[in-house]
């Protein structure tokens, strides 16, 4: 029996719903979800070997999302998965609000060199809540830790650009960003042993975008439909099912390697 602990923000909703649809195929796996909205998970702390939050509201969220647990007992799990928590193209792309590499130069923006861009993305990754959380887990557990980024924006943004985030609608720019994030993650994987699980290619289209149909049934932190509210940054159960299958395949491989 493999027991898995998923920690994250609203993006765990899709994975939870995805797990609901595929769990019968994995009788030897269980998954507990612990989540809270936005950046409130930055209040998580490890005390006496347990992970919880001093913030009562966050503890209530942990309780609601996990089905009754106000804290995480690390010893109970074979592996941990950190989902979203600032590890997202949306968050990292903010650099494009003011800075562009020469190939994408615009008169109202400042230039940034390739090396400086890489260092910037690396800096954002290093200080992301996702990595802070992964490091917190590592401080109390030696189990494998996986990091799953929030889904790439839906290809819907190509037709309906978002005001004040128009750069999300530039595929080439978003491609460069994705490559930079993957490159910045490699040394972290090597140094800290976390493993990044990038978005499965079958969930993507038109380059660096999530297939738009996955956003049509987007769900929130608790797995409830988001409706028209957000079909770009959050995905639904079908997307979650693909991600959770990829996760479990990787986990099986990792646990086998660990046992060997």
């Amino acid at each position: 029996m493999a027991r898995l602990c998923v920690i994250g923000n609203s993006h765990i909703g899709a994975i939870r719903r995805g797990w609901d649809t595929v769990s019968r195929n994995y009788p030897n796996a269980t998954i507990d979800f612990f989540g809270s909205t936005g950046i409130s998970m930055n209040t998580l702390v490890a005390v006496d070997g347990l992970i919880s939050s001093p913030d009562e509201e966050v503890r209530e969220m942990l309780e609601r999302t996990s089905g009754g647990k106000k804290s995480i007992v690390p010893d109970s799990y074979h592996a941990f998965v950190v989902v979203g928590l600032g590890l997202s193209a949306e968050s990292f792309s903010y650099v494009y609000k003011r800075f562009r590499p020469l190939a994408f130069a615009r008169a109202d923006m400042r230039l940034i060199s390739r090396a400086c861009y890489a260092a910037t993305i690396s800096g954002r990754l290093q200080t992301s809540l996702a990595l802070q959380t992964a490091r917190l887990v590592r401080s109390v557990s030696s189990a494998p830790i996986f990091c799953i980024p929030a889904p790439q924006p839906s290809s819907l943004v190509l037709d309906e650009p978002i005001v004040d985030a128009e750069w999300l609608s530039e595929p080439a720019l978003m491609d460069v960003l994705h490559e930079a994030i993957v490159a910045a993650a490699a040394p972290i994987e090597a140094a800290e042993g976390f493993r990044f699980l990038w978005q499965p290619s079958e969930t993507m289209e038109r380059g660096p975008y999530s297939r738009r149909e996955f956003g049509m049934n987007a769900v929130n932190l608790f797995g409830r439909p988001k409706g028209e509210q957000d079909r770009v940054f959050h995905m639904g159960p079908e997307y979650g099912a693909i991600v959770v299958r990829a996760l479990l395949a990787t986990l099986e491989e990792a646990l086998r390697a660990q046992a060997a």
């Binding site: 903010y94 650099v95 003011r98 800075f99 940034i112 060199s113």
Partner: protein, 312 residues
Amino acid sequence: MRIATAGSCFAQHIGRHLKLRGVRVIDTEPAPPGLTGEAATAFGYEMYSARYGNIYTVRQLLQLVSEAVGTFTPAEVVWERDGRYFDALRPGVEPEGLDSPEEVLAHRREHLERVRLAFTQSNLLVFTLGLTEAWVHRESGTVFPTAPGTIAGQYDANRYVFKNFSVEEIVADFTQLRRIMRGLNKKIRFLLTVSPVPLTATASGHHALVATTYSKSVLRAAAGELCQKIQQVDYFPSYELIATPFLGENYYDTNRRSVTERGVAHVMDVFFQCQGMAAAPAETVTAAVPDNVQNAAADAVCEDILLDAFAR
């Protein structure tokens, strides 16, 4: 009060302490969001009021401001090293260089706009005089912050010549600089200091100790003359506060070159007292500095150390 800072590596300490104590220091080229601390400094951000890197000589500052207002065109802007391209006039701000000469030129164009903006907006320029020695393009007189062939470029004795500026030249350069800057901003005032950081190497042919004494004497004399002659110029004795043996405390680090964090805090305490501004206790400021740089030269970036390698 809107302050701009520029100068040799000691000027980085001044800018950092001004910010630590809540003084508004202009920065027209802030780092991209996410690039902070040492990584930002490595790319020339957060050091000065624009991303010009260390400016060691008055001629270098004069040249920069003249270029920013369109009255000077440097002879060489691009230096190459191992297939990468560097801005010869600020080679330290892109440690890995850029992809092409065109990219260097594009970055420089943008930088000059920001330089112009910084000096147009500031009421006070705090400029730390660092060196009298420089390398100059023979034909055009373009002065470089580092010796060709150290960070990038290639040394060629037929192309470049060593220059050791005199008091008269520095005073003349500064007078011209002031005229151009007051054209940008009539209200601008100047606060000159002399860096207490000694030379580690010299191309003058003299011993580094002799060259240091000469250099600091010339800079101090030029600053004094400018202060006496020009109403909008003031002088602050950073050099004296650190380098005067009879003041008692040794503010040099064990390498005998870097100024300790405590020394910098002392200078800034006096600075704030002189300006009639409340000074934060040195301990408060020192406490804000990580332990690993408490005794070292904080984290100032000094390309002139590379002269040492060049001199061998």
